[in-house]
Amino acid sequence: MNYTTIVFLFFLLATGVLYFSAPKKIQWGVLLAASMFFYILSCGVKTAFLLAAATVIYTGALIIQTIEDKFAIRKKELEKNQRKELRKKAERKKKIIAAASIILMILMIFSTKYFNFFGSIINQAMSASGIGHPIPVLKILMPLGISYYTLMGISYITDVYRKTITAERNPLMLLLFLCYFPHIIEGPFDRYAPLSNQFRQSHRPDYDRIKNGGIRLVWGLFKKFVIADRAGLIVNTVFSHEDMYSGSVFIIAILLYTLQIYTEFSGCMDMVCGTSQMFGITISENFKRPFFSRSINEFWRRWHITLGEWLKDYVFYPVSLSGHFKKINEKIRKHINSKYLLALIPSAYALFFVWFCNGLWHGASIKYIFYGLYYYILMMMGQAAKPLSDKCLAKLHVSRNSHGYHIFEVIRTCIIVCFGMMIFRSGSLSQACSVFTGIFANFNISQIFSGALMVKGIHIWDYFILAISFMLLLTISYLQEKGMNIRETLSKQIIPIRWTIYIILLFSIIIFGAYGGNFANTTFIYGEF
């Protein structure tokens, strides 16, 4: 079952009726039943992975909590020194349990998502040393959402270990947190505390909330069907026949792919946030108009926000606070006096792991690791060159706060992101390289005007629709950036205006949607990660 199907709408309707007519105390039970139904239908026997993950983190967190609770009781009877000793022991035990649970979760994702990738690397290394190919290539179908629920599981158990939250006693509530149907396919990476609190609350049907959720869902469908899937047809054709196209066509294809992936991913987030809003559950936002960012750092604070936050909390901080890191830091301080380098080197060390994991999370391929490191290198270069750029700007009398410089930064960020998307979209790192060199070696702008972009199934009117939709998207994003709440503004309009807009939006999807006929049935790109 996919979020973009009519069957899903019926599923939503049935769940809504059951949910709102259920007694307050078991409303979350309805969500769990619906989520499990959704998951089992999509995943079949591979649901066992989800249940195993839930069992591991439930048991692990409960043991950690028991150790903590026992310590809390016993510490009152002990002297300070004994208490310290006991705390140390308890912490060690907790650490072992948390580490074991996290390793199990990593093994689970490794065995399904990364086994063949690392196996092929080992095989290549062994083959070079004449040993052969000891690791077999397995036909593994990744269970739906495993990249999401394993990471959410890790965040849960780490939070229990850090005492940010207490362990959940009800295993079914934890299962709901992991498999909640709006966030199981493409995220966002929700945190346990805010979500479980909302699950436990009673939610009555509220017209405005359901209406607003519905509008957001429809807007997400518009982004997916009208923009993303239409752009996708052009992008897929160009990238699958790279020999036929010149650099100028590739630039258009890269721009379209950036538009495609943004509208598809943010569109899916609109759908899931809107769906969840109808049930009275607010899930985390994953996008905040990323293409208005002035730097790469800001871009990643606005794009796939929950992944960035997850990596910050569960990779960056653990690395920065680790004993190993502290030792390295001390060594650097002994040998280097420059304040500039003292700030740069430690952050370069910790951020390397963040961006490596970011790349690896996206997929089991060198290409994705390179994608993560591409941003890492650019960020480091930006940080390293900051003193120099400050000097240059001062000499040129350019203020960083000026309007013109702001626009320059936004465009620069967009260009960097587009090149990142070229790596992301390419079938392999070598294709990315050949596309990149092709842009400069064979630009040939005349190919654009010779009809090369009129790929099968695409008419000039499709470009017109893309242009209009893009302008609409840009205008809405700009207004939101200026602080306008679009749905609130809409709801203040008189009914004829409001309804006309809703009707136009709905029929735009039906009529201008890129589905059926020449358009292939598409899934969500991030759903495959």
């Binding site: 009519i6 239908l41 017209y207 009707i503 029929f507 949607g513 059926g516």
Partner: protein, 347 residues
Amino acid sequence: MNINTKNIRNIIRAVIFMSLFVLIFIFLSKVFTVSGNSSEDGMESRISNAYRGEDRNSLDVIFIGNSDMYRGISPVDMYHVTGITSAVSGRPNNSLQEISNDIDDILKYQKPKLLVLETDCMFSGKNPHFRNSKTKHTSLFKKIKDSVDNGDSAIISAINYYFPLIKYHDRWKKLSLSAFIHHSRNFYKFHNKGMAYSDKIKPYISQQDYMCSSKTKTARISSDNKKIFKDIYDKCKNNNIQLILMTVPSANTWNISKSQATQKLADQYGLRYYDYNLTYPQDFDWKLHTKDGGNHLNYAGAVTVTNDFGRKLKEEINLPESDITKKQKDKWKKDYEAFHKKISDRK
């Protein structure tokens, strides 16, 4: 305003909005629906509407059914031998309900004397997407999963059946303002009048007789299809059209039980029924006359059925030569020649 009044107001608003949406959907469905029969109109199965391309009221016989029909009858060859004008209206997996609707469309363009209904459709289900799911599921889970997996296609197919906006949505690129006002168009003409040509040969070589009664399950015409059949019968009666039932040879889809059930229905309504599986046409040979191992006929097979049925029209039904103008006769002659030239060019 108390909560109840507010709730009622909101419900009324939602109902009005939904009604408005449905009305616009219906209106746009009419605007977007293909009114011509060319590929430019976006029609999926354009050949099935060949009768639209013929001069109005110039066809005396309409053959209607599924792929068995458009593979089993050649109207230009029948005209060449008998002088009787006809066309085939057939779509793959056509259901009886779809046929009933097609008859309504046919009557807008033609006034046939005879309607020949291919009988395989009598045993079809309602929705082709569920109908095509041949897997028999034993577990409830698999049944639900199958329904969910096919659900979208089935729902969209059902909506498209009545209001095909989703089906023809991509026609917005070709839509002119006139489409919102009137639907008249120039129709494409098919030389072969709805027949799908194939010269492939894949013999049916089974040693067993597919019409042997001991080896077949009892076939039953569903009550829904019986009702639809009555509608078709009434439509024909009200329009002075003689309804005839016919089964083209089809070793993979037909059996004696279906034949008997159809015969019973034909007897009930006093209709002629020709089952070419019980009595093959003259010179018919399963080794030469099927394109896919017994499911459909190839062109050579279609000619044997056409010749035999043409003879029946003349001798048993006493249908005279079609009363058409000299110009129309010339056109039919040209179409016959063009069709056969195409065939010889292929060879």
